[in-house]
Each structure stands twice: as C-alpha cells, then as structure tokens.
C-alpha cells in the first residue's frame, strides 16, 4: 500500500521546481498505510527555514484526499535529516532540465570550495565562478559561466 502512495507522491511537484517531484527531491521520509484509506506521511525540510514546506504539506494532503484516502496526516519531522545526496538520479536530471546545476554528491563532509567550479547546466563547462552562495531561495546559489556567458543558479550541496 505504501508503494501505491509513493507513486501518487511522485506526481506532487516541488512548487518552485516544476520538473522535480517531492519523492525525487528526497523529502518524503515516511509513509505509513496499515489500513484501507490510511496515509500518514512524514516530510523533512531541505532547509529548516524553507517556506515552501508548508505549501508542500498542503499539496500532499490535498492530493491524497483527492485520490480517495480518508485518514490523511502529513507532518514535518527532523528524524531523518535531509541532505543533498537524497536527491535521486532522476531528481538530479530534473534539476538540470529546469536550468539548475545539480548539487555534487558528497560523502558527508565537504568544503564549500566545491561550489567554485560548478558545471554549467546550459553548456556543461566547468569554467564557472560562484557569485554568491545565497540565491532567490534558501536552497540555491548563484553562478556565472565564463564559457557560455550565462548567469545560472545551482542547487546547494548540504551535508
């Protein structure tokens, strides 16, 4: 029953990145469905201050009601802490498709120097410069590609 719910949640998109589902983003950290109609969902924030999380809670709730679930609970929890490795390969491709440089994979600890030559999502050049680690949303940094002369945004790595 959990798999069926997971498939439904794969159609719920990040409100700020319409190519990326919340499942591929890696923020769905718990699905419980022990009886017919039950769907208890646990979400975890990418960044604790992310204002989109409340919107995503509502989207998940409404979607499950629409799909016929009657006992729907959605809550936020930190018991699994999100890190950028939790974005699926499909999710990384979806980010790139949306024009956002995907975060590099890391093994827990990394220096933020990794941001200095983030591959350009438009032309794949590594001849890029980070302009600022803070962007239009908490999860994005801003970069400039010296090769194709475009400004672009990256999805920040988080450990």
């Amino acid at each position: 029953m959990e798999n069926k719910i997971k498939a439904i949640l794969e159609t719920v998109m990040d409100p700020e990145i319409p190519t990326l589902s919340i499942v591929d983003l890696g923020i769905v950290t718990g699905i419980i469905s022990e009886t017919e109609g039950q769907a208890h969902i646990k979400l975890t924030p990418t960044f604790s201050g992310c204002p989109a999380l409340r919107i995503m809670e509502t989207m998940v709730h409404d979607k499950l009601i629409e799909e016929g679930y009657t006992d729907v609970k959605v809550h936020t929890s930190f018991d699994v802490q999100w890190n950028s490795n939790m974005i699926s390969d499909k999710g990384l491709a979806a980010l790139k498709k949306h024009g956002l440089a995907p975060p590099p994979k890391h093994d827990g600890y990394f220096e933020l120097d990794v941001l200095s030559d983030t591959p350009c999502p438009l032309c794949d050049s590594r001849n890029t410069t980070m302009s600022t680690p803070f962007g239009p949303t908490l999860c994005r940094s801003m970069h400039y590609c010296n090769n194709c002369k475009n400004a672009f945004e990256g999805f920040k790595p988080v450990g």
Partner: protein, 256 residues
C-alpha cells in the same frame, strides 16, 4: 539516565537561549533587506534571516513538546525581560562593519554549538542540531569570505572591521554567559556547557582573525557583557519586539 526537574529546567533554559538568539538575530538580519551595500549582501542577509527564523521555530517546537506554549505565543507575547537572547544579537544593525563582525562571531559560535549538540542525549535536539550544522556552513563561509576580503581591501575597510572587532568582542563573549544549570546539563549528557563552547570558539575565531591580519582583544582581560541570558537586556530589545509583534498585537488571529 532519568531526568530530574533541574535537568529539564536546564534543557529548557538552553533551548530558550538558542531559539531567542536565532529569532532576534534573524529579525535583525532581515533589516538589511533592501539596504545591503550590494545586491548580493542584501540577499545574503535576507537568506540568513530566513534560515535563522526557521531554525528558531524548530527549537520552539521542541520547547512546545516539553510543555511550553506554542511557538507563536512564545515568540510574540513575551516581553524583553522574558527573553534569553544575548545582548550581542539584539543591538541594532548599525553600520555594515558591525553587522558583519556580529555575524562572524555569532555564527562561528552557533556552528560549534550545533556540532556539540549533534551528540546530545536529547533526541529531538540532536536531530535538529545535525540538520542545522549543515545549513550554517553557508553562514560561516559567507562571514569568513567578507572578513578576509575587507582585511585585504583598503586601509579604511581593514580599520573599520578592526574597530568593529574591538567594540564587539565583549558582547560576543557575553554569548557564553553560564546558566544556573551547567553542571546538570553536563552530567546528564545534554550539553558540555558554555565554558567548553567558549574555549572551542576562541580556538576557532582568534587564529582565523589573526590569519586575516586583524588583532583580537585579550579574552582573559575583557569583561564579557553578560545579562542577556537572565533577561537583562539593552534598551534596544523591547522596541524590536514591539515592531516584530505589531500585527500580532493588533490581531492575534491574523492570517495572510
């Protein structure tokens, strides 16, 4: 081990001071929105504000689980003398040099605090500390980059930051005001305490500042600006709270 009343009291005190620091500094950082010296700084301080207010909410929620009022009530209905923030975070933003130095001192302390709490026996706190220590890396990196750049900028930029360091150092040491529960927190495995944190912080910030070419006042002879953790604040906190809670005070049920 089983927590006694004193352990719980100590834990709440620790959580209140962390959450209040985050909420108040978050609010102060947000005052740079639209005023940053360059657009990127405007965005940086605004983003850090959002992170800090979000982190404060997560800690107020732990307090709520421990029997305190809900986060909105706690954040918006207390007076200055009920806040546990340090005097450092409540001061007005002043010039950019002060705001940057405050950000540098505060965020290095918080990064170490979260690192220490990532192994606390208090599970919900351990979880958020693990989360926050990833997020705050971006804050300390931002502070370090600018502290270094302004040291290498002009004579004026270096002098202004040096003056801000000298003027802010006692306030920064005030962050580590010991609580009445240091021994209890330590014996229960909740937190190694403000003294340990202060030493780790000095070992981090002093060599870093010196490597940038600044001098740092002597911590052993500087008298820390204590009081904030016990509800004794500067004249600047109450007006900030009045502004922050203006809408809530007019209409507590407001929704937007």
């Amino acid at each position: 081990m089983e927590f006694t009343d004193k352990h719980v009291q100590g834990l709440k005190d620790l959580l209140y001071k962390m959450a209040d620091d985050l909420l108040i500094l978050g609010h102060r950082n947000s005052e740079w929105t639209g005023l940053g010296p360059i657009l990127e700084e405007d965005i940086a301080f605004s983003s850090m504000a959002q992170d800090k207010v979000g982190q404060s909410l997560a800690i107020y929620e732990i307090l709520n689980q421990l029997g305190e009022s809900d986060p909105d009530t706690v954040a918006f209905t207390r007076n200055a003398n009920q806040f546990h923030c340090s005097k450092l975070v409540e001061l007005p933003i002043g010039e950019y040099d002060f705001s940057l130095v405050r950000h540098f001192f505060y965020d290095h302390a918080d990064a170490i605090r979260f690192e220490m709490l990532a192994t606390t026996v208090v599970e919900p706190l351990q979880m958020v500390a693990k989360k926050f220590k990833g997020e705050i890396k971006y804050h300390t990196m931002h502070a370090d980059v600018w502290m270094k750049q302004l040291a290498e900028g002009s004579d004026e930029s270096k002098m202004r930051i040096q003056n801000a360091i000298n003027e802010t150092f006692a306030l920064a040491l005030g962050m580590f005001e010991p609580s009445d529960f240091e021994a209890e927190l330590q014996e229960a495995g909740i937190f190694d305490g403000e003294f340990v944190l202060r030493e780790k912080w000095l070992n981090k910030v002093v060599p870093l500042l010196e490597s940038f070419g600044y001098s740092v006042p002597d911590a052993t002879t500087t008298i820390p600006e204590f009081g904030g953790r016990k509800g004794q604040h500067t004249e600047y906190l109450q007006p900030l709270l009045d502004e922050m809670t203006e809408v809530f005070a007019i209409d507590p049920g407001a929704d937007w």
